[in-house]
Amino acid sequence: MTILEFARGPMLHFALAVFVLGVIWRIVTILFLGFKRYHSEPRNGLVKSLIGGMTVTGSRSWPHKEFIGRTGAGEAIGYGYHIGLFIIVLLGTPHVVFWKNLFGVSAGWWPTLPGGVVHVLSILTVTLLLIVLIRRISHPVLRRLSNFDDYFSWFITFTVMVTGVMAVFGLGGRYETILAWHIISFNVLLIWFPFGKLMHAFFIFPTRAVVGYLQSRKGAAT
């Protein structure tokens, strides 16, 4: 069995199983925990509270105008590499083929982006990821807030990106070897995903919405 066969065969199957099990485990646990019972009279009805939840989801996803000078750049970089990742993962041809196969759909409508666009985006995303790390290390508060989880989540995302870029540009070895390392690092990311901060991909918007909903029910300004 070659390294590529291993990466896209048994290792990928294992990683996907761990990913699915871990993500569902965490989501189901939270769903089953339910909400704390509030004994006071709700200040707002269900609809208004739901609107409050949505408002908070939006407002918390944007820098607060009071702090925009301090946090704006960080948020812009954060958005930048997240958007880059999404576009590459969802519209890069080899990835589209992978998703179609994973979900078992033929989906002729699923568009792909020209390779050149994906290449430029990949380099930009890698650069932004590097800036993010430098910022995390050099910012006194961020550095104190960071732990292994933050660095490892960054490292594995960065490795997936870099090996992908190397495979596309034919750097560092033969295509199939670099492709194998790209898939192996993706597998590690899948395995790590449910147990670390990468899980924010599933939690970030629902938690903002729930906070907004609960605050709104209590009549707090959102």
């Binding site: 199957h13 099990l21 871990g22 089953f32 041809t93 196969n101 982006l113 050149g116």
Partner: protein, 365 residues
């Protein structure tokens, strides 16, 4: 002077043989220019190559076909016109090849033993096909000897071994899962001779010739890649040299063999083309005297020059696909996740309840 020295010096040079057959100097130089460019030599090396090739004494070649389909030999010998490639192939003179030999049976075997003895330690051994080792090698025998024994004996007297085709190089189709005959490539049996793998199912005739020309003109083994193939021919992927590459880069893919994309000649990646993971000279040297190669005929590359190409899933599944035939495992993981989640939540709520009960008891006491 040994017998083999005697034998070699009595052999005519390749130049003499070509002259005898009426090959003009112009045609020969054209061939050498093509070979030089094929081997990525600078243009000024052409005359040196031509000179060396003319002066080289024709080597004795023993061609041993084992577990094979004869496709490789067909590829090497069935050119449209008597090209210089097959003329050279003639010129090097096969002292033994039981498929091409007029003689058969005992006479052919005697000729092989005679040629091997006369050129012991000097001849080039060409192997075609894999070697079945299962059940003591009984799946492949010839003249009362197993292929394994024949190979071992022939390899002992060879100066170098040229594995023609994917079967001899990597096991090929007989080696494919479940490999009922226990087939193996030459490199798994012979470890003490230089082995050059010229893989492909079949290999490109010009690549084969180029490898022989290299051996004849330099007397040595060319630079090999990690699979023992001449880097000069197998150094680049089909994808890197494919004329459809610009469509790949533009994101234009044929989705089926008769859609508009296919008619426009777009990239065949989504139809299973193995060009990105296949290393061979098809896209540059091409087939049928440079006429075309499979991708030019509208079919994706099937990766036939790569190890285990037969076990890489369907030929119509893309390189990054063919991963999930069985989704049951994922469904099982999802069900386990639900069960685990429910159990964790239950345990957490029990803990919480217990804590609040203890707190209540403490308060009332």
């Amino acid at each position: 002077m040994t017998q083999s020295d005697n034998n070699r010096s009595s052999q005519p040079t390749i130049g003499q043989v070509l002259d005898e057959r009426g090959v003009s100097r112009r045609r020969f130089m054209k061939f050498c220019t093509a070979m030089a460019s094929l081997m990525a030599m600078p243009p000024m090396m052409t005359s040196a190559l031509a000179q060396n090739l003319r002066q080289a004494r024709r080597p004795s070649v023993i061609y041993m076909p084992f577990q094979e389909c004869t496709g490789c030999l067909e590829s090497l010998t069935r050119s449209f016109s008597p090209s210089i490639e097959n003329l050279l192939f003639d010129t090097i003179s096969l002292d033994y090849n039981h498929t091409l030999f007029a003689a058969a049976g005992t006479a052919a075997e005697a000729a092989r033993h005679e040629a091997m003895e006369a050129n012991w330690g000097e001849y080039i051994l060409i192997v075609d096909g894999s070697i079945p080792q299962g059940a003591g090698g009984v799946y492949g025998t010839s003249a009362g000897e197993s292929f394994v024994d024949q190979l071992r004996h022939a390899a002992d007297g060879a100066a170098a071994i040229l594995c023609v085709g994917t079967c001899a190089s990597f096991g090929g189709i007989p080696y494919a899962n479940p490999n009922p005959t226990g087939a193996v490539p030459v490199s798994e049996i012979i470890h003490d001779r230089p082995i050059i793998n010229v893989s492909g199912c079949p290999p490109i005739p010009a690549v084969m010739t180029g490898t022989i020309v290299h051996y004849l003109t330099t007397g040595g083994v060319p630079d090999l890649d990690k699979y023992g193939r001449p880097s000069v021919f197998y150094g680049q992927s089909i994808h890197d040299r494919c004329y459809r590459r610009r469509f790949y880069d533009e994101g234009k893919f044929a989705k089926s063999f008769d859609d508009e994309g296919a008619r426009n000649g777009w990239c065949l990646y989504e139809l299973g083309c193995r060009g990105p993971t296949t290393y061979n000279a098809c896209a540059t040297v091409k087939w049928n005297e440079g006429t075309s190669f499979p991708i030019e005929s509208g079919h994706g590359c099937i990766g036939c020059s790569e190890p285990n190409f037969w076990d890489q899933g369907g030929f119509y599944e893309p390189v990054t696909s063919k991963l999930f035939e069985d989704r049951g495992q994922i469904g099982g993981a999802a069900a386990a996740g639900v069960a685990l989640g429910a159990a964790s939540a239950y345990a957490a709520s029990r803990r919480k309840k217990k804590r609040s009960e203890t707190a209540g008891e403490e308060e009332s006491s």
